[in-house]
Symmetry: C2
Subunit: 718 residues, 2 copies
């Protein structure tokens, strides 16, 4: 069994390997940081060439240290680290921080050294951070075991950064902003300890109220998911991940084929794991600060209390931008407000308490509104007008907020005149913003995060039960794979998906025109004719699609034309025959796709089809296996959802549960068959109550990696 991380974060004794008297060196900075931070444990500098350093006896090697060593902090050149690990093993040192750069970030040679270190670490059961990290800080025991950052303030936030530069920058910024931390960790190359385990470890600490992460990439989404899902339901886990440039939206455009970027899979993973993703690093802090100070709003009905009209309108504008409606105050609230506010008050939300509002008027207004059940959160705006008493107003607000079960945020619009009030509010756990927009946005993020976590709580999926048609489909897929044909035609794809409960329009494929005519007699006109060839995937481009077939005569002529055009398009194309299908004109065209990512496994895409998908990238993603709640979420996240749900002109609303069902069946299919590398149903046509997969394709693969499904190993080891 691997050691846990206690010896690393709570060492009784530390060896600083590479400690030096050269002040411009990292080894000096770390040693100095540790000894000057108030750490109560023992510290042993290790350096071959020195005898004393800052009054400490220097050891020439780790093995010479007379006592037990819990933690080695290493800043020697990386090429010496594997050998050093042998010594650590001999000395039974259970934990290390490898500051040394030159690991996999510099290429093949570094990757090899890193592998060597990992092997030694496993051999001696040494847990380690890094390489290529700045170290960490544990303010609970005053241990500032890193270089580059000044002693952080104490607090209840844990911060983990994959970038050293960002670690330094944000800790420096936090110091200026008076933001405190319990732990701050520069995680480096994650050769051993990686995000999942570290977040789990920190998340279980009582001194940690929330966890902030700056992430560039994951090495193991599986372990991340398992660890973080548990933690995030207990305390906020907020992540900024850079590298959105290859967004899912963009990827959607290049769908049909390989999806390029994977950033959208991070978003999908975070959604399933209950992690809030922010766009920028400052949001990371702003948002988390507010979340830790006030409860998360249970809904998106917010009230604005203001002593000036303009800022109230700004807040309302922000509601509009976010697509939410201002809370409707109850009759009782309105009556009570009428009693205490001047007659010219706004009589609605935003609640304009008028420019001459006294602290008492603010207090009573907040008291009344905080009892209204229609309200999920309250934003109080103070502008420094002639009659305004900011400090006294702040006092009143603090008192009422303490008794409120709803989150209260403040907006102080101004500067010098409001400084004292701002400090008071902030130190009383009321988040303060400079603009109404920021306050509304942050409160809305709180609601969204609350909602997301509730989804995660309901994210139930079955892993082991096969679909009743499993065996039949298995035969088909194995047949295709055995015959060496990994690209399936529309007809072949429809055969498979229809067995898993995906409705298709009536379709036949034949190389006998008489069969198509009798098909037409059965299903009626109009028909569409298309080529059935694994070698001609862009059927329209090859002039191998004919629509509006209304007569048997047209069938005969169309049949011949398609075969002729197919041959012309690709001389040696294998042609199975001609597909005939009932022509369906839908109210809406949708698309469902799936693909596979080496790191994240199989995933699904849902969105608007046709011109929409191309122009608007109106698609959403989730990982396999899907649960009903996240299938619904995929649909809700698209723009077309509004039309589907409400209908549009003479088009009726669509029964969303039927689309959920289709997504669930596709997820089942993918879970049952990791051999499915890619799949598209495009379009999935919706017409009133009917839904049909009208066209599709599938690509199979022989070789199946370990990570075919993200969450398959849930409940396994961790």
């Amino acid at each position: 069994m691997r050691n846990n991380l206690d010896k690393l974060f709570f060492p009784s004794s530390i060896a600083v390997v590479g400690a030096t008297d050269k002040k411009e060196k990292v080894g000096y900075a770390i040693f100095k940081n540790i000894i000057s931070g108030g750490f109560k444990g023992k510290v042993y500098p290790v350096n071959k060439r020195l005898d004393y350093l800052e009054g400490y006896k220097v050891y020439h090697s780790v093995v010479e240290i007379p006592d037990e060593v819990d933690l080695a902090i290493i800043s020697i050149p990386i090429r010496y680290v594997p050998e050093l690990f042998d010594q650590l093993g001999k000395k039974k040192v259970p934990a290390a921080v490898v500051i040394s750069a030159g690991g996999k970030e510099v290429g093949e040679e570094g990757r090899k050294i890193e592998e060597e270190i990992k092997l030694k670490a496993r051999k001696y059961n040494i847990r380690f951070l890094g390489p290529n990290c700045l170290g960490f800080s544990n303010t609970i025991i005053n241990l500032n075991a890193n270089f580059g950052i000044d002693t952080p303030l104490k607090g209840e936030t844990a911060f983990v950064s994959q970038s050293g530069a960002l670690f330094t920058a944000l800790m420096d910024w936090a110091l200026e902003q008076r933001i405190g931390f319990s732990y701050a960790v520069s995680i480096g190359n994650m050769a051993d300890i990686e995000f999942g385990e570290l977040i789990y470890y920190l998340g279980k600490k009582k001194e940690v109220k929330n966890i902030l992460v700056y992430m560039e990439s994951l090495t193991n989404p599986h372990s991340f998911y398992k660890a973080v899902k548990e933690i995030s339901l207990q305390k906020p886990v907020v992540v900024t991940k850079s590298g959105r440039a290859e967004t899912g939206q963009r990827a959607a455009a290049s769908h049909t084929g390989a999806i390029g970027g994977k950033d959208f899979l991070y978003t999908a993973l975070f959604d399933r794991a209950g992690v809030l993703r922010t766009d920028t690093v400052l949001q990371l802090f702003d948002i988390t600060d507010s979340f830790s100070k006030q409860s998360l709003p249970k809904g998106d009905k917010f009230v604005v209390i203001t002593n000036a009209g303009g800022p109230g309108v700004m807040a309302a504008d922000e509601f509009d931008r976010l697509g939410i409606k201002a809370a409707q105050l109850s009759e009782k609230t309105l009556m009570q407000l009428n009693e205490i506010l001047p007659p010219v008050w706004s009589h609605g939300n935003p609640v304009d308490v008028i420019g001459d509002a006294s602290p008492e008027r603010y207090r009573k207004t907040l008291e009344i509104i905080s009892k209204d059940n229609n309200v999920d959160g309250i934003i109080v705006i103070i502008t420094p007008q002639f009659m305004t008493k900011p400090v006294e107003t702040a006092k009143s607000l603090i008192e009422v907020t303490k008794k409120s079960d709803k989150p209260v945020y403040c907006v102080l619009m101004g500067g010098v005149k409001l400084k004292k009030a701002r400090d008071m509010l902030e130190s009383s756990n009321i988040p303060v913003f400079e603009t109404p927009e920021e306050a509304v946005n942050t409160m809305y993020s709180g609601y969204i995060y609350n909602r997301k976590r509730n989804l995660v709580k309901q994210d139930n999926f079955l892993l082991n039960k096969k679909h009743p048609e499993y065996e039949n489909v298995k035969k088909i897929i194995e047949h295709h794979l055995n015959s060496g044909k990994t690209v399936l035609t529309e007809y072949q794809t429809k055969q498979i998906i229809s067995k898993y409960g995906i409705p298709i329009n009536e379709t036949v494929s034949s190389n006998n025109v008489e069969e198509i005519i009798s098909f037409a007699r059965k299903v009626g006109f109009p028909l569409v004719l298309k080529i059935d060839s694994p070698d001609i995937l862009h059927k329209t481009e090859a002039n191998c699609v004919i629509t509006n077939i209304y007569t048997e005569d047209q069938i005969v002529r169309g049949y011949e034309e398609i075969l002729r055009n197919g041959k012309k398009y690709k001389k040696d194309a294998v042609i199975y025959g001609v597909i005939a299908e009932k022509q369906v004109e839908g109210d809406y065209e949708l698309i469902i796709g799936s693909s596979h990512d080496d790191l994240f496994g199989q995933y699904l895409m849902f969105g608007s089809g046709g011109i929409f998908v191309e122009a608007l990238k109106d698609v959403s993603f989730s990982l396999v296996p899907l649960s009903e709640i996240f299938a619904k979420e995929m649909i809700i996240s698209t723009k077309i959802y509004n039309l589907l749900e409400k209908g549009f002109r003479n088009k009726k609303p669509v029964d969303i549960s039927r689309i959920i069902n289709i997504l669930m069946n596709i997820s089942k299919l993918l879970l049952d068959f990791p051999q499915i590398k890619e799949m598209d149903i495009n379009p999935l046509i919706v017409k009133g109550e009917e839904i049909y997969a009208v066209d599709g394709r599938m690509v199979l693969r022989e070789k199946i990696g370990n990570n075919s499904v993200l969450i398959s190993d849930i409940g396994g080891d961790n």
Copy 2:
């Protein structure tokens, strides 16, 4: 001729009417602000009940003042103001600031008093600010003639606020942020001096480098347009206008009928006047600060120089979010950078100069890049890493930036360690941001603003020349108006617009089925049949549209069915007959609409039709008359533009100039006929090279107000 505003903003002597010794009163605050700000002119407090105030002799009425008075600042109850204006008239006081509240903002009674004040002002030729304002500040002559704000710092910005609370809040905030002003004006109710004139006046001052405006509403868009267009081409005019909630997007949804909100017309006006609109008040300052410090980028090709990878990725992410591409460095630049940077540098943009970058390395990198012609703007990121020397780096950057013809912004990611460098950069006119995203966003705003101003320079339109078909269409419109029918049917609308050069699909209306059959023989099948009735506008709802008519027999049956259903839908409906038209299936459905606003006059809407317009509000607006450059801009602003321009799958690109031409013709029609109250062409169908107006309607109006067209009076008086 009305006085100009010199006596108001540069008075030699001021009477403070309502000055008092009661320290909690506005009259005291103003007086105190004036006498303690360093104003060199004469100040005369006026108060019936006092003899001396703060060492000044108090006059019991304005007329008693022995000298000339240039400016009266008035804080007595508003009901006494009309009478006071008589005295000002007698005393020949040319300017006033009416602080007193209680004007039109309180309702009918206040509106009357305000009218009275206006009449007196006109009689005596008194120019005045307010009522219901806080006054103004002119730092050039140290005149802080207002209540509520502390003496502002000197600067080159003019700030105008329509909200008193925002005026106080933002000036207080600016003081804390060390932002200076030449003028700051609380404009109040604008009974006399309004935005247009004030911006023009301030814009012509050499001490004003840029103008910031907080606006809630305009009383006269016409004068605003004329005044501000001239100024904005000389110096930035940046406006925050609250009240977006009724956005154009939302309005588009409720189109077909009255468009509710008008906020989108402000955006349309600002675009035509060269004004940059920001979403929030803080952006107002951030953006303008950057624009005044560095030149506006000429294009959107930006380079990022950074000593850390993460922040570079964040900047690149922001490029992606904004839909722009990072600048491609020239071969020469890359070669030069190879010579001075360590081998592991990023070899591209973002230019990662590596964590150990010295000030000299930053300097050389910036020097090389600032000479690359592919680059429009440069963002330099500094993170406080172990080897980083922030102050020395700042010095290097300042030196190079002085010689650069491209804007340079800095991002300092950190806090205490970067404070000194930040101060140095800011005082050397280099804007400093906390995050890469903010810097990229602001630089992009600069490009957008530059681009917008260039559009305004090319905004040429003809006002007087009538269309050759003017007389013919005039007869038709007069005929409809004379017959009392103001709602025109599709057929009638098509008759009018086709004369103005809008292509329509072949259409006939007849109450004789034989005529329709011979129409079919001429144009061929398929046809669509619809009812032609001014009383049945929702033809589909009334079951009065039949598509896919392929035979003469179907014509006969369809004709009868439509008439039958029309009668059933509305018993007493006037039915002209049945419209038959060639059925057109398009690649794209567009919509063009127009309506009229009492304040802004006639305006146009362009956008995606069908499901798009409903789900996505993909529309843009502009004012009449349109110019070619803004017709194009309307098209470019929509999401569907990308599809139109580039084509989509088997759909060919559309010749945008043909749509521009249609918009120009519609604009001409609206300019020629202010009687057109509303018009829709929906859908305008595009199929390859063909474009047709397929359906439409028009509403006429008898009475035409003054403001039928926004820009009709250009070149007139101001």
